[in-house]
Homo-oligomer: 383 residues x 2
């Protein structure tokens, strides 16, 4: 066994789709592009493909680095690569930036062919189901009839679940981590505060800020700060920051002002600032709304087991003990509904201190569980 | 026994203090006014006074209504009144609006005698300890040498604790509900996001918005929405709102937009709107900072028992099972520190669904515990 390595230098590509995509809202996207990265080799049987679905602020750049940006490491590089849980010597891994996101796929920043100007507020609301349908067309374009696995954490896990429901013949395994069958009122509330902060920023201009040459950065900063608090556990924040004062001893006197004084304030404001530089505000609205709307049981009278009945995949669910955003109880709801359908389901509830963000970290027990599961899949598909 | 009644029509009064008040920051307030309400009668021995301390957004208006505003019921009217847990037939109850608040006491909106303009950003940062010292002077003015009890919930509980430490001879009982010995990193983080929203509102003008004839209402709305989420439990929000759509059946189709659609959004935005009408943004910064700074153990090397050693009062602590802002574990830290000092402490951990806000509600078990405790106090002071 060699030590896990990086997939190395990678290059994204843009795939264009000309067939109009009908959306859950009733609207249609006439034509669109998706940014894609792939790692590893598709085998001759085309049976070893794994689709990785991203969450709110990530993209197609799952693993590796870029030639011209050697520090821009993919967001799940610890999960995907040679010798890593999703081993790119055995699997052909596909990362895709979803429709409406802001990393090169068609979204609110793109030019609306109907007007010649950025879509802005006119970009249609898209749902998890819409993303999954667009991903299925991507699979067609890549010559993949069936994914060995579709996987993701958080919102990515919702896409994996939706794949199992919408395209049951095209997914072997559904790997859904730190996810939920639907947002709670509290989850929606946090999303709405973030949206309010963006929408009430005078630089938002009803979503058409591109034309004004500005960005609603104040709103984005606040949105990200709120989000960040919900991604970490209270214990994790206590451990990382406690009540430490920035650049001062713990028993130093307070500054008696309203500027950044505690370490945790400095950290959050830095995260907000960074995010406001690279993320698009309309995409923030769009993706949080897709989170709010995800609820496969809605059309089945609230019965999740009935919603999951079409699924034929086998399932790996994983959750983290200190995740208060999508707690283990939410994953257990999915497990219970799958068992009611006699589905084959593996469930790992991992005792980890890092809250919701744990799905992105390389906790050894978590990664060992994933590695073992993907090892079985690889064997199944002859890799 | 008669059914609990209201204290009826009450009238606030403003008391002016001419002796300069030295503050924890090193600054001094030259002179100041405090808004005060009282209910019941001070007995001849002056032994039956109870001071009620308010939390972030409340005031001196603890109970009853005003002649000209019969719907403006005091914020703790269910706790204070004839036949209520703090029975105004037996106790003389004092409500006071703290220094820096925006309900008539001297604060950022007041005229700075040095400039003839509102203090705005120049109003000094005040602490829980400063409030308690100002309250002690109020007691002097009212002829109260010793309070039978000082009580409060949340930030009000911090004031009660601080009374026990700073003025041990002047407090018989310390009643501290749903409180904490110090904010956690997560608590500070939520406060800081709220402050960021206010400070980054273009109408904030560095705190001197009065001169511009505007209010940073966008920031205040977001701040209140964030706060509100932390006051309710997740279960409570699920119970109250779930995923209900405003004005639509649960299985109705989504609106596919970014406006108010879920009931929980409507509720939060309404709360934010209402708050932004009546609350002052500088006061929001000031009071959240006082929360951040409260940490009586800080000057004792982090040893809470040592910080509480001067206390001579008897203590009632109460917490609520679903309060994730100041959880029962935080109250237990105080109880443990008091026991280490051989203090007389009663602790009630109440199984209640309503999160942090439970301290304001009339849960029967909670109110029975408080009523029994205050009955003992009343007997002690001969009432």
């Amino acid at each position: 066994m060699t030590a896990p390595a990086s997939v190395g230098t990678v290059a994204p590509k843009s795939l264009h789709f000309r067939e109009p995509l009908p959306l859950a809202s009733g609207a249609t996207i006439a034509d669109y592009s998706l940014m894609v990265e792939t790692y590893g080799e598709l085998n001759a049987a085309r049976s070893n493909a794994v689709l990785v679905c991203h969450a709110l602020n990530a993209s197609h750049h799952v693993a590796g680095v870029y030639q011209d940006a050697p520090k821009n490491v993919g967001w799940w590089d610890n999960m995907v690569g040679p010798g890593k849980p999703v081993d790119t010597r055995r699997f052909f891994v596909v990362g895709v930036n979803n429709l409406g996101s802001c990393f090169g796929s068609t979204g609110p920043m793109s030019t609306d062919p109907a007007t010649g100007r950025p879509y802005g507020a006119r970009f249609p609301v898209v749902t998890v189901e819409d993303w999954v349908d667009a991903q299925a067309r991507l699979a067609d374009a890549l010559g993949i009839e069936r994914f060995a696995a579709v996987m993701g954490g958080s919102l990515g896990g919702m896409q994996a679940l939706s794949w199992a429901i919408r395209h049951p013949a095209r997914i072997g395994h559904c790997v859904a981590i730190a996810t939920t069958p639907k947002l709670s009122a509290q989850n929606i509330a946090f999303n709405d505060v973030a949206r309010s902060a963006i929408q009430s920023d005078p630089d938002f201009h009803g979503g058409d800020y591109y034309a004004h040459g500005v960005k609603p950065r104040r709103g984005l900063r606040v949105a990200r700060m709120i989000g960040h608090i919900t991604y970490l556990s209270g214990d994790d924040m206590a451990e990382k920051f406690g009540r430490a004062l920035r650049g001062k001893a713990d028993d130093a006197d307070y500054a008696f002002g309203y500027g950044v004084e505690f370490e945790v304030e400095s950290y959050l404001r830095y995260q907000g600032e960074k995010f406001s530089e690279y993320f698009d505000a309309n995409t923030y609205l769009l993706i949080t709304r897709a989170l709010d709307y995800f609820d496969p049981a809605k059309s089945c009278g609230g019965d999740l087991a009935r919603a999951l009945a079409p699924a034929r995949a086998r399932f790996l669910l994983a959750s983290f003990s200190t995740d208060w955003r999508f707690s283990p109880a939410r994953s257990r709801e999915i497990v219970t509904a799958l068992i009611r359908n006699d589905r084959d389901v593996t469930y790992a509830e991992i005792d980890a201190p890092h809250g919701h963000d744990a799905f992105l970290l390389d906790d050894p027990r978590y990664h060992r569980a994933l590695a073992a599961y993907f090892d079985t899949i690889a064997t199944e598909v002859g890799q």
